[in-house]
Symmetry: C2
Subunit: 346 residues, 2 copies
DNA sequence: TGTTAGCACTCTAAGGTACTGAGTGCTAAA
DNA sequence: TTTAGCACTCAGTACCTTAGAGTGCTAACA
């Protein structure tokens, strides 16, 4: 168990290290105004803290650096009360003041402002298709064997795919199918579109359509890819300004990971509600060894829709990041819920 | 004017430097089998070449390195005949063997294969809207004051925008407008959609619609952004493996530029037809100081549609890059033209 | 007159040594 | 329990030396 003084020293040390990125020595700590005890005392305490695994030395006569365990403890128990400057708050609010129509834009802008305010890289998981429902489906022929299928969701999201039409399927067949789909599939959540279609529509389609099998395989291919949530970024290269990323190999590893949407998706997918912090190895991904990720969720009508996140070095400003993130998640939730309700109750 | 021998030596030097990234000395050159004269002779020639500005020293007793002028001359006059291995050719052909339906995918894949084959960063300017024509326009209401507008082009390209509907404009008005648009604007090139609409439709609309002014401003905002060509990338981080990009600041500058679509667009927009090489400063952009860009165009029915490009260090394999690029541009042209014709003549 | 061998010279890169300063751990006294 | 004091450690820097790759120049050669 840590004593009051040890807690205090650990906090001072981590705060200092977050600012300077330099190992912190006992003398540095003793010089602070609110420290009454001597550097020798601090040395003793530091030795204890090191023994318990909260801090480390970079070499035998260096100052101390927080360990991942130390950061974990700091985040869980030692964060000072959140302070957001009015400037920051205004900055965020002003973003939502101009009521943007397109969700994509709202999110892209949010990513931008996050990375600007923090100088870290911001990552946002776009709204899940999860709860959005089909409003309308349309098929527009392009040539004798291709057509564009357009799905419009009640969230305003539009999805389109080009597909091949088997020669045995006629245009009038397709028209019939579309009509039936619009009747039967309206207000079905996009996520269960495929299964609903297979279940509910099979019998109806069989009645009205000749080449049921061909049509069916065609439709199956259409809904093959449940469109994953899109990943948005802000300040992708901000991380390169951090001293811990002077090494080009680390950078390449990390930037490569950014390009893999599926990997990022898994990293951001939160395990629990609320603001979550993952420190270094906790991300179990080599590229993220020296990074921490702070995530928060946003909601529409209480349903979790996606996450917003900040990625920085393990030595990141957790308190500030969490505050900004929480704040923005809140605003995002409000905006999107408003928007959604205006659609739903129309 | 350069003598035969000087040409030969310059060529050997640049070839060597491209492979090794190390300054090339007279002895290195003299050791080559096909070199009959001594290193002393070569030293004399190198001194002349340096005086003429084709090569440089990194310090007073170092070997020589090509200058930008040297590269320029090399690219214009000294390239050895193109050699593409069968493997490369097959690689590219196989890409187009599976006839993909969506242009986006074709292009994304092309970018991928380009960067894989060369280990440089590939950049592709998506097909211009330029010649593609409107096939159909649709408006789907989302709420009492918002609707999604969907434009389908004959190329299969789908464009959608969410817009606000002024309260004074009724749904039936909108339906009327859409009908008129579909009548009048069909087969109008997307690029001139706005002007055609303003000219041709004004009179008709005035007749049928009450709130002409509101509708008009609404429509104007709709076509405000001529959608720029999309920029696709492959192997964004490949450039980081080049020894000239060990410096994190150079990297940041370059990667930041990648994020600015408009800047990249201007860089890629070719000035003349055919395969073009821009070396270092010729790109007049700080971030591109140490880079060269090779661009080629692709066409649909003889009309230039976009460009594909490779970005590497100035010390890049020009010959190979140009060959691969030319080859792929050709395949791309064929594929897209085929596709387009199957749409057009339907 | 063009080519080449030879040599003095230059500069980088790598390795070694010495010094400084920030930091530690331990001990003994307050 | 705290602290002053001291010996010790180690990274970083500066400085020097050496090795090696390369040049430019000169004088001799074909």
């Amino acid at each position: 168990m840590l004593t009051e003084r040890q807690l205090f020293i650990l906090q001072l040390l981590i705060n200092d290290y977050i600012q300077t990125a330099e190992p912190v020595g006992s003398r540095t700590i003793s010089k602070r105004e609110d420290v009454t005890f001597s550097s020798a005392t601090i040395r003793n305490e530091l030795a204890d803290l090191e023994e318990m695994g909260y801090i480390e030395k970079t070499h035998s006569s260096s100052g101390r650096v927080p360990s991942e365990k130390g950061y974990r403890f700091y985040v869980d128990h030692l964060l000072s009360p959140p302070v957001l400057s009015k400037k920051d708050v205004n900055n965020i609010h002003s973003l939502f003041a101009e009521r943007m129509v397109e969700v994509e834009k709202v999110i892209q802008q949010s990513a931008g402002i996050l990375s600007e305010l923090t100088q870290y890289t911001s990552i946002i998981l776009g709204p899940e298709v999860f709860e959005t429902k089909l409003r309308q489906i349309q098929i527009i022929p392009l040539s004798k064997d291709t057509a564009v299928v357009i799905l419009v969701a009640d969230s305003g999201h539009v999805e389109n795919r080009t597909m091949k039409i088997p020669p045995s399927v006629s245009m009038s067949d397709i028209e019939k199918v579309v009509n039936i789909m619009n009747e039967r599939l309206k207000d079905v959540p996009l996520i269960s579109l495929k299964s609903t279609m297979m279940k509910e529509m099979a019998t109806v389609l069989k009645k009205h359509i000749e080449n049921y099998n061909q049509v069916n395989t065609m439709l199956e291919s259409l809904f093959l890819y449940t469109n994953a949530e899109k990943v948005y970024y802000g300040g992708k290269t901000n991380i390169l300004t951090q001293p811990e990323f002077k090494d080009i190999d680390k950078v390449r590893l990390l930037l490569n990971t950014f390009e893999q949407d599926d990997v990022m998706y898994n990293i951001l997918r939160p395990e629990k509600n609320g603001i979550e912090v993952k420190i270094g190895q906790e991300n179990d991904l080599e590229a993220m060894q020296h990074c921490s990720i702070v995530t928060a969720d946003y909601f529409i009508e209480g349903k979790r829709m996606g996450s917003i996140a900040l990625l920085g070095p393990t030595r990141m400003e957790y308190q500030r990041s969490m505050s900004i993130l929480g704040f923005l998640a809140n605003d995002l939730t409000k905006t999107l819920t408003d928007r959604y309700q205006s659609f739903k109750h129309w």
